[in-house]
């Protein structure tokens, strides 16, 4: 059985005061607009927008703590990795200005590990963090704010066919269902003395030893989808155009939100095509380290 995200109605929530279609359109505009920029000055308003949405969402910290810690750690890890290797930003800057160099007091096969702390690397790591963090905050809020009973009609309202809209509805609910099945399988195998933490060996051996978890979860997902197809067939799905029980209607505030979203996207496109919003570092800082 498909389970849903931990959604609940929150009276004071800013996100939930909008039609879900309007919010999805705004979210997409926000997402694509953010992707146009590497300039931290341009990205900061997006981060403020995301933080405003988070703080007015009515979602409690204990509800999203796990998701935030996981994604926060993920983003931080990759920002630090990019900073240490200096690889991620090579497409957006060509020249680097060294602040300080750290050289390891040892060599490995003639290679001496060296960390170059440059102005560009530092600012790229900050930009990358702000950019991804803004998108992550807005994305994490979706499952907590969109009523699962409205998934299908939301996608239908965005112009998709009945079948695709319902498939999207099922897909949205597949993720938490997969999480539940994974946890149940882990519990069942731990009760047989299996310890995931102690899986060791080479890569192939490690994957093989994950079999007790991967196989049941995969088989469950396949059987589950067959059950869903049977259950849909047994209740006349796909006979013809379907009636959607839930009706969504745009209010003035929804139209304003869509307009704001489109405006943000339009301005972002114009700025990007005007050559603004690319990677930026303060010129004063470069002067300082020269």
């Amino acid at each position: 059985m498909l389970v849903s995200w931990r959604y609940r109605e929150r009276k004071s929530s800013f996100i939930q005061s909008f039609d879900p279609r309007a919010w999805v359109i705004f979210y997409l505009c926000f997402l694509f607009s953010t992707l146009f920029f590497w300039d931290v000055r341009f990205l900061l308003p997006f981060m403020l927008m995301a933080l405003f949405t988070l703080l007015t969402s009515g979602v409690k910290w204990h509800e999203i703590r796990r998701a935030f810690l996981f994604i926060g750690a993920f983003i931080t890890f990759f920002a630090i990795l990019t900073f240490l290797t200096g690889r991620g930003g090579q497409e957006v800057y060509t020249q680097e200005h060294l602040i300080r160099q750290f050289v390891a007091p040892f060599s490995i096969l003639g290679w001496t590990p060296t960390l170059d702390v440059t102005v560009e690397r530092s600012f790229f790591a900050v930009s990358q963090f702000v950019r991804v963090f803004s998108i992550a905050v807005m994305t994490i809020l979706i499952p907590y704010s969109l009523n699962p009973a409205h998934y299908g009609i939301t996608f239908k309202g965005l112009g998709m066919s009945d079948k695709i809209a319902y498939a999207m509805d099922l897909t949205m609910r597949f993720i938490p269902t997969f999480g539940r099945d994974f946890q149940l399988t882990m519990d069942a195998q731990r009760a047989r003395g299996y310890e995931l933490e102690k899986v060791s060996g080479g890569l192939i051996e490690q994957v093989r030893r994950l079999g007790p978890v991967i196989v049941p979860v995969t088989i469950h997902a396949i059987i589950g989808s067959e059950d869903i197809i049977d259950a849909m067939d047994l209740r006349a799905f796909g006979v013809g155009p379907r009636t959607w029980l839930v009706q969504l209607t745009y209010k003035l505030r929804d139209r304003i939100l869509i307009a704001v979203g489109c405006l943000v996207l339009f301005v972002s496109v114009v700025l990007a095509f005007s050559g603004l919003g690319g990677f930026w570092v303060p010129p004063e800082l470069i002067e300082l380290v020269k």
Binding site: S4, A188, A191, G193, I214, P216, R235, V239, T243
Partner: protein
Amino acid sequence: MSNIALSVKNLRFRYRDRVGAALHGVSFTAAKGELLLIAGASGCGKTTLIRAINGLIPRSYKGEVEGQILINGQDVASLPLSRISQMVGTVLQDPERQILGTRVINEVAFGLENMGLPREEILERVDEALATLHIPHLRERETFLLSGGEKQKVALAGVLAMRPSILLLDEPLASLDPASAVETLDIVRQLADEGLTVLMVEHRVEDVLRIRPDRVLYMKDGAISYLGNVDGLVNVVDTSEIKLPAEMIIERERGAPPRAEIRFVSRRAGDGESASAPLVQFENVGFGYDPETAVLKDVAISIQKGDVIAVLGPNGAGKTTFVKHAIGLLKPKSGRVLVNGRDTREASVAEIASTLGYVFQSPSHMLFAPTVREELAFGPKNLKHKPDAIEAQVRESLETVNLADKEQDPPLSLSFGQQKRVSIAAILAMRSKILVMDEPTAGQDYKNYMNFMDAILQMPGFEAILFITHDIDLAAIYANRVILVADGRIQADGRPEQVLADKELLRRCRVIPTSLLDANLARLRLTGRFMRAEALANV
């Protein structure tokens, strides 16, 4: 106008990937408003017959079909599945496999939305179906938070809202507590009385006989072995295969030579051993999955050497949460749980598993190995047992659950009932001191589960056994201690003869006395203990 709602003529079917035929020339008719009970052991072809009638065979389940099925005079072979589904409503054994909607109202409306009915009519029909099943209060609830009984009723409401002329119920009582099962059966009787043709596949024959099915169709090896009224059934079936009312069995066995009584291994502490050191101890345990809802409240209980405990209680009472604390999968929010004197907070689940083996409700969450043999060896290997010991443990466990011939088969290719037995054998092979089983009989036919319960109770290795069940007869026959759980609290804990004799207590815990319990209570002064129906015949 014909009174025949369903006509099955010489139906044969063989699944594409199996050797033998699942159905051999099945023929019968069902009249409008008839309630037909379909009974038989696992693998006799009951579910295949249901799939053929609702059109999933051959559309979803491929194979060779012969014969004809007419629904209200129309041949189903010529109809699309979507059209059949408007005439034939199907409720599956596990409502979890059927429910699609996130909220009850969306779930019940799903079929009607697909039929493209006007919104007003959908709402009217949804409310009507919810009212018929006495569940209007569930209308806005989220489906995945419902109890098992509520889910079953919601699944039924979703089908009834489409106003089919035939209703197929495939073991609808399998996951229900006794009170929910009685409520569901009463509704089924009411629907048949209102003119709906109902075909009900069910292992719990005794329960269904309460609502007076018009006829019984008894299947064996893919063919009809008996089709007729209820009274004639007792003369043709093997009572070890079908659970019949106790008085029927007592009557039939009276005068027959007494059967040898199965003696279970005594697990009580010997004279020289300490009877006071509990194997598992719950000290004022409190738990909730979220801060607002308490699932366990102040549970204080201990499991001693020699205990064979049956845990009874309604769906959603906290029984599974209770046993998950014993193996350390859940940690108490307040109080503590000690296993062999050690706090479960300080031990890993894998460490506790060597003391306490836990059989999960659903086998599909644990089976992964290419053969049954490897599946059974997995646990003992993790617990670092010696190879020759593993060999012996695997063999003995397979024999206990009657699957010795499936040793080299992939567990995932077996039927649900067989998979369940593999999951039990996998824990038996670990030779833990304490065996805990969560609904071991769910999805099993009567003969199989009685056989493996007999075998498990005769195994000498366990110091204590605990099983969660909805089957009161199982508690009466096998347990020496019954724990009643309701509303997250222990409501009663004692010998079966004490706890199960309190009718008011049972009613409060949604436990309905069975005919075997009544028969035992009536003879308790003579017997001094609970017995099987066959044994009561000689009292």
